[in-house]
Protein backbone atom coordinates (compact mmCIF):
# COMPACT_ATOMS: atom_id res chain seq x y z
CA UNK A 1 0.00 0.00 0.00
CA UNK A 2 1.24 3.46 -0.85
CA UNK A 3 0.91 5.79 2.14
CA UNK A 4 -1.25 8.86 1.65
CA UNK A 5 0.25 12.22 2.54
CA UNK A 6 -2.03 15.17 3.20
CA UNK A 7 -2.25 18.32 5.26
CA UNK A 8 -5.08 20.49 6.48
CA UNK A 9 -5.32 24.01 7.86
CA UNK A 10 -1.54 24.45 7.80
CA UNK A 11 -0.02 27.59 9.20
CA UNK A 12 3.76 27.68 8.78
CA UNK A 13 5.91 30.38 10.27
CA UNK A 14 9.47 31.31 11.15
CA UNK A 15 9.43 33.17 14.48
CA UNK A 16 6.81 35.88 13.98
CA UNK A 17 6.70 35.73 10.18
CA UNK A 18 3.88 33.63 8.84
CA UNK A 19 4.86 32.24 5.44
CA UNK A 20 1.98 29.87 4.74
CA UNK A 21 -1.50 30.28 6.18
CA UNK A 22 -4.53 27.98 6.16
CA UNK A 23 -3.27 25.71 3.41
CA UNK A 24 -4.85 22.37 2.53
CA UNK A 25 -3.07 19.91 0.30
CA UNK A 26 -3.49 16.30 -0.65
CA UNK A 27 -0.63 14.52 -2.41
CA UNK A 28 -1.93 12.04 -4.99
CA UNK A 29 -0.49 8.66 -3.91
CA UNK A 30 1.63 6.81 -6.43
CA UNK A 31 1.93 9.85 -8.67
CA UNK A 32 4.50 12.55 -9.38
CA UNK A 33 3.61 15.99 -8.03
CA UNK A 34 5.51 19.15 -8.93
CA UNK A 35 5.35 22.30 -6.81
CA UNK A 36 6.06 25.46 -8.82
CA UNK A 37 6.10 29.14 -7.91
CA UNK A 38 8.27 32.23 -7.69
CA UNK A 39 11.28 32.46 -5.37
CA UNK A 40 10.35 32.86 -1.69
CA UNK A 41 6.71 31.90 -2.22
CA UNK A 42 6.99 29.11 0.35
CA UNK A 43 7.68 25.98 -1.70
CA UNK A 44 10.56 24.75 0.46
CA UNK A 45 8.65 25.74 3.59
CA UNK A 46 5.69 23.59 2.54
CA UNK A 47 7.93 20.67 1.55
CA UNK A 48 9.78 20.85 4.88
CA UNK A 49 6.48 20.79 6.75
CA UNK A 50 5.33 17.77 4.74
CA UNK A 51 8.54 16.04 5.88
CA UNK A 52 8.22 17.05 9.59
CA UNK A 53 11.35 19.22 9.37
CA UNK A 54 9.17 22.19 10.32
CA UNK A 55 6.33 21.86 12.82
CA UNK A 56 3.16 23.63 11.74
CA UNK A 57 1.97 26.49 13.93
CA UNK A 58 -1.61 25.37 13.21
CA UNK A 59 -3.07 22.38 11.42
CA UNK A 60 -1.35 19.06 10.85
CA UNK A 61 0.30 16.89 8.25
CA UNK A 62 -0.94 13.32 8.11
CA UNK A 63 0.49 10.15 6.65
CA UNK A 64 -2.20 7.51 6.25
CA UNK A 65 -4.38 9.41 8.70
CA UNK A 66 -1.72 9.60 11.44
CA UNK A 67 -0.32 12.96 12.44
CA UNK A 68 3.36 13.10 11.46
CA UNK A 69 4.49 14.22 14.90
CA UNK A 70 2.89 11.13 16.47
CA UNK A 71 4.91 8.74 14.29
CA UNK A 72 8.37 7.81 15.69
CA UNK A 73 10.84 9.62 13.48
CA UNK A 74 12.75 6.45 12.56
CA UNK A 75 9.60 4.63 11.52
CA UNK A 76 8.61 7.67 9.49
CA UNK A 77 12.05 7.67 7.84
CA UNK A 78 11.28 4.25 6.38
CA UNK A 79 8.09 5.66 4.80
CA UNK A 80 9.07 9.15 3.77
CA UNK A 81 12.38 10.49 2.46
CA UNK A 82 13.36 14.13 2.00
CA UNK A 83 16.17 15.76 0.09
CA UNK A 84 16.31 19.37 1.35
CA UNK A 85 17.53 22.30 -0.71
CA UNK A 86 21.32 22.74 -0.62
CA UNK A 87 22.54 20.04 1.80
CA UNK A 88 26.23 19.94 2.75
CA UNK A 89 28.50 16.98 3.45
CA UNK A 90 31.58 17.06 5.70
CA UNK A 91 34.88 17.51 3.89
CA UNK A 92 36.35 14.27 2.63
CA UNK A 93 33.22 12.16 3.00
CA UNK A 94 33.12 9.68 0.11
CA UNK A 95 30.14 9.20 -2.17
CA UNK A 96 29.82 5.59 -0.99
CA UNK A 97 29.74 6.72 2.65
CA UNK A 98 27.13 9.36 1.88
CA UNK A 99 24.84 7.01 -0.01
CA UNK A 100 25.28 4.35 2.69
CA UNK A 101 24.01 6.85 5.27
CA UNK A 102 20.72 6.85 3.41
CA UNK A 103 20.26 3.36 4.83
CA UNK A 104 20.38 4.46 8.49
CA UNK A 105 16.64 4.10 9.16
CA UNK A 106 16.94 0.44 8.17
CA UNK A 107 20.08 -0.29 10.19
CA UNK A 108 20.52 -1.40 13.79
CA UNK A 109 23.52 -1.48 16.12
CA UNK A 110 24.38 -4.98 14.98
CA UNK A 111 23.16 -4.93 11.38
CA UNK A 112 25.06 -2.22 9.55
CA UNK A 113 25.57 -3.66 6.10
CA UNK A 114 22.88 -6.19 5.23
CA UNK A 115 22.37 -7.61 1.77
CA UNK A 116 19.42 -5.24 1.39
CA UNK A 117 21.65 -2.28 2.33
CA UNK A 118 24.29 -3.30 -0.17
CA UNK A 119 21.73 -3.85 -2.95
CA UNK A 120 19.98 -0.52 -2.27
CA UNK A 121 23.25 1.44 -2.18
CA UNK A 122 24.63 -0.04 -5.38
CA UNK A 123 21.24 0.22 -7.06
CA UNK A 124 21.07 3.92 -6.19
CA UNK A 125 24.65 4.54 -7.37
CA UNK A 126 23.93 2.82 -10.67
CA UNK A 127 20.58 4.53 -11.20
CA UNK A 128 22.11 7.98 -10.72
CA UNK A 129 25.06 7.11 -12.95
CA UNK A 130 27.74 7.73 -10.31
CA UNK A 131 28.93 4.17 -9.59
CA UNK A 132 32.42 5.12 -10.79
CA UNK A 133 32.52 8.07 -8.36
CA UNK A 134 31.84 5.90 -5.28
CA UNK A 135 35.33 6.38 -3.83
CA UNK A 136 35.57 10.13 -4.47
CA UNK A 137 35.03 12.82 -1.82
CA UNK A 138 31.66 14.52 -2.17
CA UNK A 139 33.09 18.02 -1.67
CA UNK A 140 35.51 17.50 -4.55
CA UNK A 141 32.81 16.76 -7.11
CA UNK A 142 31.23 19.16 -9.57
CA UNK A 143 27.90 20.68 -8.54
CA UNK A 144 26.01 18.28 -10.78
CA UNK A 145 27.87 15.17 -9.62
CA UNK A 146 27.34 16.24 -6.02
CA UNK A 147 23.61 16.74 -6.59
CA UNK A 148 23.37 13.22 -8.02
CA UNK A 149 25.22 11.79 -5.02
CA UNK A 150 22.62 13.35 -2.70
CA UNK A 151 19.79 12.07 -4.86
CA UNK A 152 21.40 8.62 -4.67
CA UNK A 153 21.34 8.88 -0.87
CA UNK A 154 17.63 9.69 -0.92
CA UNK A 155 16.97 6.87 -3.40
CA UNK A 156 18.91 4.37 -1.27
CA UNK A 157 16.67 5.21 1.67
CA UNK A 158 14.06 3.27 -0.30
CA UNK A 159 10.96 5.08 0.94
CA UNK A 160 7.56 4.78 -0.77
CA UNK A 161 7.20 8.57 -0.50
CA UNK A 162 10.05 10.79 -1.65
CA UNK A 163 10.17 14.59 -1.36
CA UNK A 164 12.81 16.43 -3.38
CA UNK A 165 13.57 20.15 -3.18
CA UNK A 166 14.88 21.33 -6.55
CA UNK A 167 16.56 18.05 -7.56
CA UNK A 168 17.64 19.48 -10.93
CA UNK A 169 19.37 22.64 -9.73
CA UNK A 170 23.09 22.71 -10.69
CA UNK A 171 22.59 20.07 -13.37
CA UNK A 172 23.28 20.60 -17.07
CA UNK A 173 20.35 20.02 -19.38
CA UNK A 174 21.27 16.41 -20.14
CA UNK A 175 21.64 15.56 -16.47
CA UNK A 176 18.41 17.39 -15.61
CA UNK A 177 16.63 15.07 -18.01
CA UNK A 178 18.55 12.08 -16.58
CA UNK A 179 17.42 12.89 -13.06
CA UNK A 180 13.82 13.49 -14.12
CA UNK A 181 13.86 10.22 -16.06
CA UNK A 182 15.19 8.50 -12.96
CA UNK A 183 12.38 10.01 -10.89
CA UNK A 184 9.92 8.86 -13.55
CA UNK A 185 11.36 5.32 -13.31
CA UNK A 186 11.18 5.31 -9.51
CA UNK A 187 7.55 6.27 -9.82
CA UNK A 188 6.49 4.00 -12.67
CA UNK A 189 8.56 0.91 -11.78
CA UNK A 190 8.47 1.04 -8.00
CA UNK A 191 5.26 2.98 -7.52
CA UNK A 192 6.88 5.59 -5.28
CA UNK A 193 4.99 8.80 -4.58
CA UNK A 194 7.15 11.77 -5.58
CA UNK A 195 6.76 15.41 -4.61
CA UNK A 196 9.35 17.75 -6.06
CA UNK A 197 9.94 21.46 -6.27
CA UNK A 198 10.83 22.45 -9.83
CA UNK A 199 11.56 25.80 -11.43
CA UNK A 200 11.30 24.71 -15.06
CA UNK A 201 7.59 24.77 -15.90
CA UNK A 202 8.03 22.79 -19.10
CA UNK A 203 9.78 19.99 -17.25
CA UNK A 204 7.11 20.11 -14.57
CA UNK A 205 4.45 19.68 -17.27
CA UNK A 206 6.30 16.78 -18.86
CA UNK A 207 7.19 14.79 -15.81
CA UNK A 208 4.48 15.55 -13.25
CA UNK A 209 1.02 14.03 -13.10
CA UNK A 210 -0.09 16.78 -10.77
CA UNK A 211 1.11 20.39 -10.53
CA UNK A 212 0.70 22.71 -7.54
CA UNK A 213 1.24 26.39 -8.34
CA UNK A 214 1.97 28.59 -5.31
CA UNK A 215 2.08 32.33 -4.78
CA UNK A 216 2.66 34.16 -1.51
CA UNK A 217 2.19 31.00 0.57
CA UNK A 218 -1.13 30.08 -1.05
CA UNK A 219 -2.00 27.47 -3.64
CA UNK A 220 -3.23 29.37 -6.69
CA UNK A 221 -4.03 26.37 -8.84
CA UNK A 222 -3.50 22.63 -8.76
CA UNK A 223 -4.34 19.68 -10.91
CA UNK A 224 -3.43 18.26 -14.28
CA UNK A 225 -0.52 20.17 -15.87
CA UNK A 226 -2.64 21.06 -18.88
CA UNK A 227 -5.21 22.73 -16.64
CA UNK A 228 -2.76 24.48 -14.30
CA UNK A 229 -0.11 25.79 -16.67
CA UNK A 230 -2.10 28.33 -18.64
CA UNK A 231 -1.08 31.81 -19.74
CA UNK A 232 -3.40 33.36 -17.13
CA UNK A 233 -2.04 31.26 -14.26
CA UNK A 234 1.58 31.88 -15.22
CA UNK A 235 0.83 35.60 -15.40
CA UNK A 236 -0.65 35.50 -11.91
CA UNK A 237 1.94 33.26 -10.26
CA UNK A 238 5.11 34.70 -11.80
CA UNK A 239 3.97 38.16 -12.96
CA UNK A 240 5.15 37.11 -16.38
CA UNK A 241 3.40 37.35 -19.72
CA UNK A 242 3.80 34.26 -21.84
CA UNK A 243 2.31 32.11 -24.52
CA UNK A 244 1.48 28.49 -23.90
CA UNK A 245 1.63 26.08 -26.80
CA UNK A 246 1.93 22.32 -27.01
CA UNK A 247 5.24 20.53 -26.48
CA UNK A 248 5.87 18.83 -29.85
CA UNK A 249 7.56 15.88 -28.12
CA UNK A 250 5.32 15.10 -25.16
CA UNK A 251 2.09 16.89 -26.03
CA UNK A 252 2.11 18.71 -22.66
CA UNK A 253 1.95 22.51 -22.22
CA UNK A 254 5.04 24.43 -23.36
CA UNK A 255 5.54 27.88 -21.85
CA UNK A 256 7.14 30.55 -24.03
CA UNK A 257 7.92 33.61 -21.85
CA UNK A 258 7.69 37.06 -23.41
CA UNK A 259 9.28 39.61 -21.08
CA UNK A 260 9.49 43.34 -21.86
CA UNK A 261 11.47 43.18 -25.07
CA UNK A 262 9.83 40.33 -26.88
CA UNK A 263 6.14 40.50 -27.68
CA UNK A 264 4.18 38.82 -30.35
Amino acid sequence: MIPELQAGGLQLAYDQRVVVDDLDVKVPPGRITAIVGANACGKSTLLRALARLLSPRKGAVQLDGRALHSIPTRELARQLGILPQGPTAPEGLTVLDLVTRGRSPHQTWWRQWSKADEAAVHGALAATGIADLAGRAVDELSGGQRQRAWIAMAVAQGTPVLLLDEPTTYLDLAHQIDVLDLIHDLNRNEGRTIVMVLHDLNQACRYADHVIAMKGGRIVAEGDPADVITAENVAEVFDLRCQVTTDPVSGTPLVIPMGRHHTS
Partner: protein, 353 residues
Protein backbone atom coordinates in the same frame (compact mmCIF):
# COMPACT_ATOMS: atom_id res chain seq x y z
CA UNK B 1 28.48 -18.62 7.57
CA UNK B 2 30.83 -15.71 7.80
CA UNK B 3 31.79 -13.68 4.81
CA UNK B 4 34.59 -11.20 4.99
CA UNK B 5 35.16 -9.68 1.63
CA UNK B 6 37.10 -6.86 0.11
CA UNK B 7 34.95 -6.14 -2.90
CA UNK B 8 36.02 -3.10 -4.88
CA UNK B 9 32.45 -1.79 -4.84
CA UNK B 10 31.64 -1.98 -1.14
CA UNK B 11 35.11 -2.04 0.40
CA UNK B 12 35.92 -4.36 3.28
CA UNK B 13 32.92 -5.60 5.19
CA UNK B 14 31.65 -8.60 7.11
CA UNK B 15 28.29 -10.29 7.26
CA UNK B 16 27.25 -13.22 9.45
CA UNK B 17 24.09 -15.21 8.79
CA UNK B 18 23.57 -16.08 12.43
CA UNK B 19 23.63 -13.96 14.54
CA UNK B 20 22.72 -11.43 11.84
CA UNK B 21 25.75 -9.21 12.34
CA UNK B 22 27.06 -7.07 9.55
CA UNK B 23 29.09 -3.95 9.06
CA UNK B 24 31.60 -2.17 6.88
CA UNK B 25 35.22 -2.27 7.98
CA UNK B 26 37.80 0.47 7.65
CA UNK B 27 41.14 -1.35 7.58
CA UNK B 28 43.14 1.84 7.95
CA UNK B 29 41.13 2.90 11.01
CA UNK B 30 41.60 -0.52 12.61
CA UNK B 31 45.35 -0.38 11.94
CA UNK B 32 45.63 3.12 13.40
CA UNK B 33 43.70 2.15 16.55
CA UNK B 34 45.84 -0.95 17.09
CA UNK B 35 49.05 1.01 16.60
CA UNK B 36 47.91 3.78 18.97
CA UNK B 37 46.91 1.27 21.65
CA UNK B 38 50.26 -0.51 21.36
CA UNK B 39 52.17 2.78 21.50
CA UNK B 40 50.19 3.91 24.56
CA UNK B 41 50.95 0.60 26.27
CA UNK B 42 54.67 1.04 25.59
CA UNK B 43 54.59 4.62 26.82
CA UNK B 44 52.93 3.56 30.07
CA UNK B 45 55.51 0.77 30.48
CA UNK B 46 58.26 3.27 29.89
CA UNK B 47 56.71 5.78 32.30
CA UNK B 48 56.59 3.25 35.15
CA UNK B 49 60.09 1.94 34.55
CA UNK B 50 61.97 5.23 34.21
CA UNK B 51 62.83 7.71 36.91
CA UNK B 52 65.30 8.46 39.70
CA UNK B 53 65.05 4.82 40.68
CA UNK B 54 65.30 2.89 37.35
CA UNK B 55 63.44 -0.38 37.05
CA UNK B 56 63.63 -2.64 34.00
CA UNK B 57 60.64 -2.74 31.71
CA UNK B 58 59.75 -6.36 32.60
CA UNK B 59 60.22 -5.74 36.33
CA UNK B 60 57.95 -2.73 36.06
CA UNK B 61 55.24 -4.73 34.26
CA UNK B 62 55.50 -7.48 36.90
CA UNK B 63 55.18 -4.91 39.66
CA UNK B 64 52.03 -3.57 37.99
CA UNK B 65 50.36 -6.95 38.55
CA UNK B 66 51.83 -7.20 42.06
CA UNK B 67 54.99 -9.25 41.64
CA UNK B 68 58.32 -7.92 42.94
CA UNK B 69 60.11 -6.65 46.04
CA UNK B 70 58.24 -4.23 48.35
CA UNK B 71 60.32 -1.19 47.37
CA UNK B 72 59.69 -1.66 43.66
CA UNK B 73 56.03 -2.37 44.33
CA UNK B 74 55.68 0.86 46.30
CA UNK B 75 57.34 3.00 43.65
CA UNK B 76 55.44 1.43 40.76
CA UNK B 77 52.02 0.94 42.29
CA UNK B 78 51.75 4.04 44.44
CA UNK B 79 53.81 6.63 42.59
CA UNK B 80 54.37 5.96 38.93
CA UNK B 81 51.39 3.84 37.91
CA UNK B 82 48.64 6.17 39.20
CA UNK B 83 50.28 9.08 37.44
CA UNK B 84 50.48 7.15 34.15
CA UNK B 85 46.91 5.88 34.57
CA UNK B 86 45.58 9.38 35.21
CA UNK B 87 47.48 10.49 32.12
CA UNK B 88 45.94 7.76 29.97
CA UNK B 89 42.43 8.36 31.31
CA UNK B 90 42.56 12.15 31.10
CA UNK B 91 44.02 12.02 27.60
CA UNK B 92 41.40 9.51 26.46
CA UNK B 93 38.59 11.54 28.02
CA UNK B 94 39.79 14.79 26.41
CA UNK B 95 40.34 13.22 22.98
CA UNK B 96 36.97 11.49 22.95
CA UNK B 97 35.17 14.54 24.27
CA UNK B 98 36.80 16.71 21.63
CA UNK B 99 35.71 14.27 18.93
CA UNK B 100 32.14 14.39 20.26
CA UNK B 101 31.90 18.18 20.21
CA UNK B 102 33.66 18.57 16.88
CA UNK B 103 31.32 16.03 15.28
CA UNK B 104 28.21 17.40 16.92
CA UNK B 105 28.82 20.96 15.76
CA UNK B 106 30.54 19.98 12.51
CA UNK B 107 33.34 22.34 13.44
CA UNK B 108 36.91 21.63 14.58
CA UNK B 109 36.91 24.79 16.71
CA UNK B 110 34.18 23.44 18.95
CA UNK B 111 36.37 21.44 21.30
CA UNK B 112 35.62 21.83 25.02
CA UNK B 113 38.76 23.87 25.59
CA UNK B 114 37.62 26.37 22.96
CA UNK B 115 34.00 26.79 24.04
CA UNK B 116 34.62 27.59 27.66
CA UNK B 117 34.05 24.31 29.51
CA UNK B 118 37.64 23.93 30.70
CA UNK B 119 37.87 27.65 31.40
CA UNK B 120 34.78 27.30 33.61
CA UNK B 121 36.61 24.66 35.63
CA UNK B 122 39.61 26.98 35.82
CA UNK B 123 37.58 29.88 37.20
CA UNK B 124 35.96 27.66 39.83
CA UNK B 125 39.25 26.15 41.00
CA UNK B 126 41.09 29.47 41.09
CA UNK B 127 38.19 31.06 42.99
CA UNK B 128 38.43 28.17 45.44
CA UNK B 129 42.16 28.73 45.90
CA UNK B 130 41.92 32.51 46.25
CA UNK B 131 38.91 32.50 48.57
CA UNK B 132 40.31 29.62 50.58
CA UNK B 133 37.46 27.19 49.91
CA UNK B 134 39.94 24.45 49.07
CA UNK B 135 40.18 23.48 52.73
CA UNK B 136 36.55 22.28 52.63
CA UNK B 137 35.94 21.44 48.96
CA UNK B 138 38.56 19.62 46.91
CA UNK B 139 39.79 21.14 43.65
CA UNK B 140 38.35 18.06 41.94
CA UNK B 141 34.82 18.94 43.03
CA UNK B 142 35.33 22.61 42.16
CA UNK B 143 36.59 21.64 38.71
CA UNK B 144 33.54 19.46 38.16
CA UNK B 145 31.15 22.18 39.27
CA UNK B 146 32.82 24.81 37.11
CA UNK B 147 32.57 22.65 33.99
CA UNK B 148 28.95 21.69 34.58
CA UNK B 149 27.82 25.25 35.28
CA UNK B 150 29.60 26.48 32.17
CA UNK B 151 28.16 23.73 29.98
CA UNK B 152 24.65 24.45 31.25
CA UNK B 153 25.13 28.16 30.53
CA UNK B 154 26.34 27.46 27.00
CA UNK B 155 23.41 25.14 26.33
CA UNK B 156 20.76 27.48 27.74
CA UNK B 157 22.12 30.60 26.06
CA UNK B 158 22.57 28.78 22.74
CA UNK B 159 19.00 27.45 22.83
CA UNK B 160 16.71 28.99 20.26
CA UNK B 161 14.10 26.72 18.69
CA UNK B 162 16.59 23.93 19.40
CA UNK B 163 20.33 24.34 19.38
CA UNK B 164 22.51 24.59 16.35
CA UNK B 165 26.20 23.80 16.30
CA UNK B 166 27.09 27.29 15.16
CA UNK B 167 25.30 28.98 18.06
CA UNK B 168 27.00 26.66 20.55
CA UNK B 169 30.41 27.77 19.24
CA UNK B 170 29.67 31.49 19.29
CA UNK B 171 28.08 31.43 22.74
CA UNK B 172 30.87 29.14 24.00
CA UNK B 173 33.64 31.43 22.76
CA UNK B 174 31.94 34.40 24.40
CA UNK B 175 31.63 32.62 27.74
CA UNK B 176 35.18 31.30 27.43
CA UNK B 177 36.53 34.84 27.38
CA UNK B 178 34.37 35.84 30.30
CA UNK B 179 35.67 32.89 32.32
CA UNK B 180 39.26 33.63 31.31
CA UNK B 181 38.90 37.27 32.37
CA UNK B 182 37.36 36.24 35.68
CA UNK B 183 40.24 33.83 36.29
CA UNK B 184 42.82 36.50 35.43
CA UNK B 185 41.13 38.90 37.81
CA UNK B 186 41.15 36.34 40.62
CA UNK B 187 44.81 35.49 40.03
CA UNK B 188 45.69 39.20 40.05
CA UNK B 189 43.87 39.96 43.30
CA UNK B 190 45.00 36.75 44.99
CA UNK B 191 48.12 36.67 47.16
CA UNK B 192 51.42 35.56 45.71
CA UNK B 193 51.35 31.98 46.98
CA UNK B 194 47.72 31.62 45.92
CA UNK B 195 48.49 32.96 42.46
CA UNK B 196 51.31 30.47 42.21
CA UNK B 197 49.07 27.55 43.19
CA UNK B 198 46.38 28.75 40.79
CA UNK B 199 48.78 29.04 37.87
CA UNK B 200 50.15 25.58 38.64
CA UNK B 201 46.66 24.11 38.40
CA UNK B 202 45.75 26.12 35.28
CA UNK B 203 48.67 24.67 33.28
CA UNK B 204 47.52 21.08 33.74
CA UNK B 205 49.78 18.88 35.80
CA UNK B 206 50.09 15.15 36.47
CA UNK B 207 52.78 15.53 39.10
CA UNK B 208 51.77 13.82 42.37
CA UNK B 209 48.58 12.27 40.97
CA UNK B 210 47.49 9.24 42.99
CA UNK B 211 44.66 6.73 43.04
CA UNK B 212 42.26 9.22 44.62
CA UNK B 213 42.30 11.08 41.29
CA UNK B 214 42.43 7.99 39.09
CA UNK B 215 39.52 6.05 40.63
CA UNK B 216 36.62 8.50 40.27
CA UNK B 217 37.74 9.21 36.73
CA UNK B 218 38.02 5.49 35.89
CA UNK B 219 34.54 4.79 37.28
CA UNK B 220 32.91 7.65 35.36
CA UNK B 221 34.68 6.65 32.19
CA UNK B 222 33.50 3.06 32.54
CA UNK B 223 30.00 4.49 31.95
CA UNK B 224 30.66 7.45 29.66
CA UNK B 225 33.09 5.88 27.19
CA UNK B 226 30.74 3.05 26.08
CA UNK B 227 27.89 5.57 25.93
CA UNK B 228 29.95 7.92 23.77
CA UNK B 229 31.07 5.15 21.42
CA UNK B 230 27.47 3.94 21.08
CA UNK B 231 26.27 7.46 20.32
CA UNK B 232 28.97 7.69 17.68
CA UNK B 233 26.82 5.68 15.29
CA UNK B 234 24.03 8.24 15.59
CA UNK B 235 26.35 11.12 14.75
CA UNK B 236 26.88 9.75 11.26
CA UNK B 237 23.60 11.28 10.12
CA UNK B 238 24.10 14.40 12.25
CA UNK B 239 27.19 15.16 10.17
CA UNK B 240 24.93 15.73 7.16
CA UNK B 241 23.05 18.59 8.80
CA UNK B 242 19.91 18.64 10.91
CA UNK B 243 17.36 18.49 8.09
CA UNK B 244 18.96 15.47 6.43
CA UNK B 245 19.50 13.79 9.82
CA UNK B 246 15.84 14.18 10.80
CA UNK B 247 14.83 12.93 7.36
CA UNK B 248 16.94 9.83 8.02
CA UNK B 249 15.13 9.20 11.29
CA UNK B 250 17.56 10.72 13.81
CA UNK B 251 16.09 12.38 16.92
CA UNK B 252 18.40 15.31 16.52
CA UNK B 253 17.71 17.24 19.74
CA UNK B 254 17.83 14.08 21.86
CA UNK B 255 21.07 12.88 20.29
CA UNK B 256 22.64 16.32 20.65
CA UNK B 257 21.68 16.55 24.31
CA UNK B 258 22.95 13.00 24.99
CA UNK B 259 26.22 13.84 23.25
CA UNK B 260 26.51 17.07 25.20
CA UNK B 261 25.97 15.28 28.52
CA UNK B 262 28.53 12.55 27.75
CA UNK B 263 31.05 14.99 26.32
CA UNK B 264 30.72 17.37 29.26
CA UNK B 265 30.97 14.49 31.74
CA UNK B 266 34.20 13.29 30.12
CA UNK B 267 35.82 16.69 30.05
CA UNK B 268 34.62 17.60 33.56
CA UNK B 269 36.02 14.50 35.24
CA UNK B 270 39.14 14.67 33.08
CA UNK B 271 39.79 18.28 34.05
CA UNK B 272 39.06 17.57 37.70
CA UNK B 273 41.74 14.87 37.71
CA UNK B 274 44.44 16.41 35.53
CA UNK B 275 43.67 20.10 35.21
CA UNK B 276 42.98 21.77 31.88
CA UNK B 277 45.79 20.14 29.89
CA UNK B 278 46.11 22.40 26.87
CA UNK B 279 45.32 21.52 23.29
CA UNK B 280 44.55 17.79 23.74
CA UNK B 281 40.78 18.01 23.19
CA UNK B 282 41.27 20.22 20.14
CA UNK B 283 44.20 18.45 18.51
CA UNK B 284 43.80 14.74 19.31
CA UNK B 285 40.58 14.26 17.30
CA UNK B 286 42.02 16.18 14.37
CA UNK B 287 45.27 14.19 14.45
CA UNK B 288 43.30 10.92 14.69
CA UNK B 289 41.09 11.94 11.77
CA UNK B 290 44.10 12.56 9.56
CA UNK B 291 45.88 9.38 10.64
CA UNK B 292 42.77 7.30 9.92
CA UNK B 293 41.88 9.16 6.73
CA UNK B 294 38.23 9.58 7.72
CA UNK B 295 35.98 12.55 7.03
CA UNK B 296 35.09 12.97 10.71
CA UNK B 297 37.00 12.61 13.99
CA UNK B 298 36.85 8.85 14.76
CA UNK B 299 35.87 8.61 18.48
CA UNK B 300 37.93 5.59 19.58
CA UNK B 301 41.04 6.67 17.67
CA UNK B 302 40.64 10.21 19.05
CA UNK B 303 40.57 8.86 22.61
CA UNK B 304 43.64 6.70 22.02
CA UNK B 305 45.48 9.61 20.39
CA UNK B 306 44.64 11.75 23.42
CA UNK B 307 45.91 9.07 25.80
CA UNK B 308 49.18 8.63 23.94
CA UNK B 309 49.53 12.38 23.60
CA UNK B 310 49.20 13.06 27.34
CA UNK B 311 51.31 10.12 28.55
CA UNK B 312 53.97 10.86 25.92
CA UNK B 313 54.01 14.55 26.83
CA UNK B 314 54.23 13.77 30.52
CA UNK B 315 57.21 11.49 29.83
CA UNK B 316 58.84 14.21 27.77
CA UNK B 317 58.04 16.79 30.45
CA UNK B 318 59.66 14.69 33.15
CA UNK B 319 62.63 13.37 31.22
CA UNK B 320 63.65 15.65 28.36
CA UNK B 321 64.05 18.89 30.25
CA UNK B 322 66.60 19.79 32.91
CA UNK B 323 63.79 20.64 35.33
CA UNK B 324 60.48 18.85 35.48
CA UNK B 325 57.76 20.74 33.56
CA UNK B 326 53.98 20.46 33.93
CA UNK B 327 52.52 18.30 31.18
CA UNK B 328 50.23 21.11 29.94
CA UNK B 329 53.21 23.10 28.67
CA UNK B 330 54.53 20.18 26.68
CA UNK B 331 51.19 19.19 25.05
CA UNK B 332 50.94 22.62 23.47
CA UNK B 333 54.57 22.60 22.34
CA UNK B 334 54.36 19.05 20.91
CA UNK B 335 50.78 19.07 19.64
CA UNK B 336 50.79 22.23 17.57
CA UNK B 337 53.64 21.15 15.24
CA UNK B 338 52.12 17.68 14.75
CA UNK B 339 48.76 19.15 13.80
CA UNK B 340 50.32 21.77 11.53
CA UNK B 341 52.44 19.14 9.81
CA UNK B 342 49.41 16.95 9.17
CA UNK B 343 47.43 19.93 7.84
CA UNK B 344 50.21 21.05 5.51
CA UNK B 345 50.77 17.52 4.26
CA UNK B 346 47.05 17.12 3.54
CA UNK B 347 47.02 20.36 1.55
CA UNK B 348 50.04 19.35 -0.50
CA UNK B 349 48.40 16.04 -1.35
CA UNK B 350 45.52 18.10 -2.72
CA UNK B 351 42.95 16.95 -0.21
CA UNK B 352 42.36 19.88 2.07
CA UNK B 353 41.69 19.61 5.75
Amino acid sequence: MATKTLSPKSGAHFRLALPPLSGRLRPRLITVCTALAAATFLAVGWAVSMGDFPITFTEALKAVVGVGDPGTLLIVQELRLPRAVVGVLVGFAFGLSGAIFQTMTRNALASPDMIGFTQGAGTAVVAGIVFGWTSTVSTQVLGLLGTFVMAALVYVLAWRRGTTGYRIILVGIGLQWMATSATDYLVARGMQFQAHAALGWLTGNLNGRDWSQALPLALTMAVLVPAALALGRLTRTLQLGDDVAIGLGTRVQFVRLALLVTGVGLVAFGTAAGGPIAFVALAAPQIAQRLAGTAWPPPLAAGLTGALFVVGSDLAAARLFPMELPVGIVTGVLGAPILLWLLIRANRAGSGG
